[in-house]
Symmetry: C2
Amino acid sequence: MTISKEIELRLGFVQEVDKLKQIMRRSHLFDGSRLENTAEHSWHIALMAIVFAPHACAGVNLERVLGMLLVHDLVEIDAGDTFAFDIEGMKSKVQREQVAADRIFGLLPSDTGNYLRGLFDEFESADSAEANFARALDRLAPLLANKNNQGGTWKAHQICEAQVRARMDPIRIGIPALWPFVEQVIGVAMSRGEIAP
Amino acid sequence: MTISKEIELRLGFVQEVDKLKQIMRRSHLFDGSRLENTAEHSWHIALMAIVFAPHACAGVNLERVLGMLLVHDLVEIDAGDTFAFDIEGMKSKVQREQVAADRIFGLLPSDTGNYLRGLFDEFESADSAEANFARALDRLAPLLANKNNQGGTWKAHQICEAQVRARMDPIRIGIPALWPFVEQVIGVAMSRGEIAP
């Protein structure tokens, strides 16, 4: 039996995305032992989607949310991880990531490639209930990492309250039930000087 | 506003499972640079589920498959990774992992905890089309790792052809379209002496 071209393309994509395991984020694991990579981050927030699904807007399609979270950072294979508070890097982020998305999702047969590219674009443009829920989880992860690391990236980069609140706002929008927790974490971090006034 | 007990339990689970990022497998990344951890492995095969969904049995529920793959190895937080070809370790694996599942899924409110425990048990007992599809992907991952690492764990542990074929059989069952590729990989690895006759 021969291996079809279409199967080869899917296998090629699976092989390519292994590289996401080597893209390092700015956040540390919760025990502070090392930096987190983007593949394990993507796993963590996909699992969070199931855990917080009872608090998603009614009618949110969890299968689409999971797909979104599994691919939302694949572009970092080419574009790298852009630190959320890096003003210069954030300016060019969209353009760099669109080029990366063209290449990476373009490795797949068009049915699956178009589906996943659509989920990626939807996440980026935050224009659906699924995207809003997914984006909330993507912000919850670094909040938890910083909470567990004495302020983590907030403290290391002297991020102020207004910046943190703006960055966490997708949680208020996507999972309102988590907002009291976010307020609590920000309040404690401020009282400890981990977030600048 | 106060934080409900139910939200606290969900956050506690999310915090606990961060530990999966520190459970190391026997397989290396495809470029051989380091061992793979179980969290990033879980991400990889969940994404593979979307990529190979067109080759799943008709009617397979992808949302359930994704949930299964995201939690199938959580028990390793307590029970550790048991090497597939470790005969002694495999004997006690089921019992050790059931105790771990009781504790870890028991951290969650019962709605989500029971749902995820059900998916874990279903994966383990391989008694649904979803479980068969998910198990195929869980076997495809180390096949690809070994293919990319000059035989990897097969060569390192002098695994023979019959053992590899038995280990890979879930791929034949769950994703028959991939079997010609598996045959090809096994054939090449044997011709290079990476799998023992």
